[in-house]
Structures are given as C-alpha cells and as structure tokens.
C-alpha cells in the first residue's frame, strides 16, 4: 500500500509543480463557459435553463483535453515500465494514477463550478445540484478516459484519437449527469433516481476502467 501512496503523492506533486496543469484546465473551462453566451445569445432565461448542460459539456471537454497527460509522461521516461515490473497489481497502480489525475485536474473544475454557475444565473439549489453531479460524475469520465489513454499511450499522435474513442462511451454519464441536475431544478423527476444511476456508472467504471486499461498496457508494452 505504501508504494501506491508514494505513487499518488508523486503524481499529485508533479502535477502541481510542473505548471500548466490544473489552472490551465480551469481556465479552459471558464473560456468554454464564456463562449456559450456568444453562441446561444445573452438571454439569461435561456442560459439558466440550459446552464447545467453547458457546465457539464464544459467540464467534459476540459477533463478530456487533459487525458493525454495521464500516462504519456510516465511512458516517455520509462516509469510505466517500472510500475509494470514492480510486482504491484497494475490495475491498482493505474487506479491510483487516475485518482491523482482526478484530484489535480477534475476536482478544480468541480470547485470552480459554483462560481461559473453564477454566469448562468443558476440559483443556489441548482448550482449545488450541478456541483454534486459533477463531483460524482467526473471520476467516471477520468476512469473511462484511462482506457483511452492506455490504448493510445505508445502513439505519437494519440491526442485526438483519445477523444474519438472515449466520447461515445461518456454519453451515459453526460445523460444522467445533466438529467440529475435538471431534475433538481425543474423536475418533474426526483433528483434521486438519475443521481443513483450516475453513481452506479461511476462505480462500474471504477471496475471496468482500470481493468481494461491494465490489459491494454500489458498487451501494448510486451
């Protein structure tokens, strides 16, 4: 367990100290949110209605763009080979890396969401609902993205390919994330049922993501 803790701390430290990590992701999120009114018009009533969807889309794109950094650096400097040979379960090591990645790139997005919700005139319950669904849903995005990162780790031009492979798989998360947020704001559904499905998707990706990614790494690096 100490090896995994060390790996987690190393990844978090590297992400914080390297620069260009979390702040740029948050900035990208802010920019996407700023662009939306230019596309759909400054009508606050409309923006309030589609606000949760826009915030979810922005967070999805921001977390997607960071994915190529999830494994690429470790592949380049050989750390991934060391992790593979260390004798620890590769699934757990990848889960740890995904967790560190989530803490450094997705968690800041979740934290900034209540502030961005103000731009769409979302009231307090609505903003809380979007934040909570993002908090529960973004781990699923990171863990599904882990599969794409593992499949394309050895490729020079993997960045765009990850998005193409991963985006169809994130559709259920997007559907239930936005549905739960909307349910909390306008109803008619109770917030609980889509939210529970969202939790289930996150838990399922907690199993499928690291397992498939470890399989891909083992098959790809041998």
């Amino acid at each position: 367990m100490t090896a995994l803790t060390a790996l987690f701390l190393r990844d978090v430290r590297a992400a914080i100290r390297a620069g260009g990590g979390a702040p740029v992701g948050v900035l990208f999120f802010l920019l996407v949110v700023t662009l939306m009114p230019f596309a759909v018009g400054p009508d606050l009533a409309l923006l309030q209605r589609i606000g949760p969807a826009l915030l979810w889309l922005g967070a999805l794109l921001a977390s997607l763009l960071a994915l190529d950094r999830l494994l690429a650096a470790d592949y380049d400097d050989g750390s991934l080979d060391l992790i593979l040979m260390s004798g620890n379960a590769l699934e757990l090591a990848l889960l740890t890396k995904a967790l560190a990645h989530w803490v450094t790139t997705s968690l800041p997005l979740v934290v900034i969401t209540p502030l961005l919700a103000l731009f769409f005139n979302l009231d307090l319950p609505a903003s809380a609902a979007v934040t909570v669904t993002l908090l529960v849903g973004t781990p699923a995005l990171t863990l599904i993205g882990l599969i794409g990162a593992a499949l394309t780790v050895a490729l020079r031009r993997g960045g765009l390919l990850i998005s193409v492979l991963i985006l169809p798989l994130t559709i259920p998360v997007l559907i239930f994330g936005v549905a739960a947020s909307n349910a909390a704001i306008v109803g008619p559904l109770p917030f609980g049922s889509p939210f529970m499905v969202l939790c289930a998707l996150s838990l399922a990706s907690l199993v499928i993501g690291p397992a498939a990614a470890a399989l891909a790494i083992r098959q790809g690096l041998e």
């Binding site: 599969i147 499949l151 394309t152 050895a154 490729l155 031009r157 993997g158 390919l161 193409v164 492979l165 985006l167 169809p168 798989l169 559709i171 259920p172 559907i175 239930f176 549905a179 559904l189 499905v197 998707l201 399922a204 499928i208 498939a212 399989l215 891909a216 098959q219 790809g220």
Partner: protein, 244 residues
C-alpha cells in the same frame, strides 16, 4: 472442421478460394429472390410504396448489431485464445459493419422524410444507431493509427470488448433520455405485428444480406492476409537488397 485448423492461413485461403464463388452465387440468388418478393409485396395502406425501404433498412440494422457481436467474439479470440485469424476477422469486419450501419442510417432518414416530415429525429433508436456508427469509426481509426499488426489487433480488441460492455448501457441511457424528452415515440410500426405478406420478403432479404456479409467478410479477410504477406515480402526484399 475445428476452428483451430483454420489457424493456418494457407489452409484458410484454400478454403476461402473453394467456397467464395459458391457463396457469391448464393448471395446473388438470395437477392434475386428477395428483390422479386419485395417487388410483389403489397404497399402499406398508410405508408404506400415507401414501406419497401424497410427491406433494406431492417436487415442492415440487424447486421450492424450482429457484426459488433462478431467482432467481440473475434476480440476474445485475439486476447484469450490468440487465434491468428481472429484479428484478421475483426479488422475485416469493422469497415463492413460501419458500411451497413451507414446504410441503415441513410435509408432510415430517407424513409423518415416522407413519413415524419424530417430527415432526422432524435429518437432513441436512431440515436443509438448513430452512436454505434461513431464507435465503428473509432475502432477503424484505432486500427489505422497503430502501425504494428499485432499491437493494433490487441488494442482494437480491448476497445471492441469495452464497447460491447458499454453498448447496452448506452442503449439504456439513450432510451431513458428519450422517454424523458418526448413521451410518445414516433417510431411505431402501423400495426402491432407485421403482416406475413411483408414478413416473408423481409426474412428472405435478411438472409440475402447475411450471405452478402459472409461473402464480403471472407473476401476482405483474404485480402487482409494477402496484404500482410505483401508487406512481409517487401520487408524481406528490402533486407536482402545489396548495399544495406
């Protein structure tokens, strides 16, 4: 013949060479019968002659799902049994599957224009098929991006299996999303069950489509094996060239 006997590509090529002409002839015969049946089939009392689009649309829809299933089995063959022809089968099936899915989408939207007055509706089934099409394209993109055969095969196999797990989840989510947005589905057949005068041509056409897929798939697998041989021979030739 046990499946493992086909592991030898030469034996497989010989088998394909023997069966492919017969299969192609059978396919042509199937389409001859099927199209004749379709020609004689009565028009629907509501939809008129446009109901005949169904005889292309529905078999392509069945095939689009069947081919992903076949690719998943081939993916297991690649990862678990390391069958040498499994990755050939998976690679050859992907573009054919994408093509049938595209046919399903295009005929569906051509059918939708006179029936619903629009080419596209964000109906649950249409949306699911569109996502399936995008996933086919993703698998093809992965195949094309990785140069090394066996590496590409294993990466595509993992993606195919992840897709096979996810496709029912996506289907369920899209159904759920759709019922939330529009309570009554537009995609309902006129009656509760399909009349035998339409069902028989449909089944004949479906058989013809499956035969067409089998023919195309075997031919594509043969081409893929030959393509690999050409690539290997080119490498050997380059290595044997003087001055290296």
């Amino acid at each position: 013949m046990p499946l493992i006997d086909l592991a030898n590509p030469t034996r497989f090529l010989a088998l394909v060479g023997r069966t492919l002409p017969w299969l192609a002839a059978l396919t042509a015969l199937g389409f001859l019968f099927g199209l004749w049946d379709v020609y004689r089939a009565p028009d629907d009392y509501q939809q008129g002659a446009t109901v005949k689009i169904m005889f292309i649309h529905v078999p392509s829809a069945w095939l689009s799902m069947f081919i992903w299933g076949l690719m998943s089995i081939a993916a297991l063959g690649t990862l678990v049994w390391r069958h040498p022809l499994a990755d050939v089968a998976a690679k050859a099936a992907a573009p054919i599957g994408a093509a049938f899915t595209l046919i399903c989408l295009v005929t569906g939207s051509l059918w939708g224009r006179p029936m619903w007055g629009t080419y596209w509706v964000w109906d649950a089934r249409l949306t699911s098929v569109l996502i399936l099409f995008l996933m086919y394209l993703g698998v093809i993109a992965l195949w094309r991006t990785i140069d090394d055969f066996s590496r590409a095969a294993r990466a595509a196999a993992i993606l195919t299996l992840v897709g096979a797990i996810n496709l029912p989840i996506i289907k369920f989510s899209v159904d759920w999303w759709n019922t939330l947005h529009q309570p009554a589905s537009v995609l309902r057949m006129a009656g509760p069950s399909i009349h035998p005068s339409l069902l028989v041509p449909l089944l004949v056409m479906a058989a013809a489509f499956f035969l067409l897929f089998a023919t195309l798939h075997l031919a594509a697998m043969r081409n893929e094996i030959l393509r690999r041989r050409v690539a290997t021979m080119q490498i050997l030739q380059a290595q044997a060239a003087p001055g290296v």
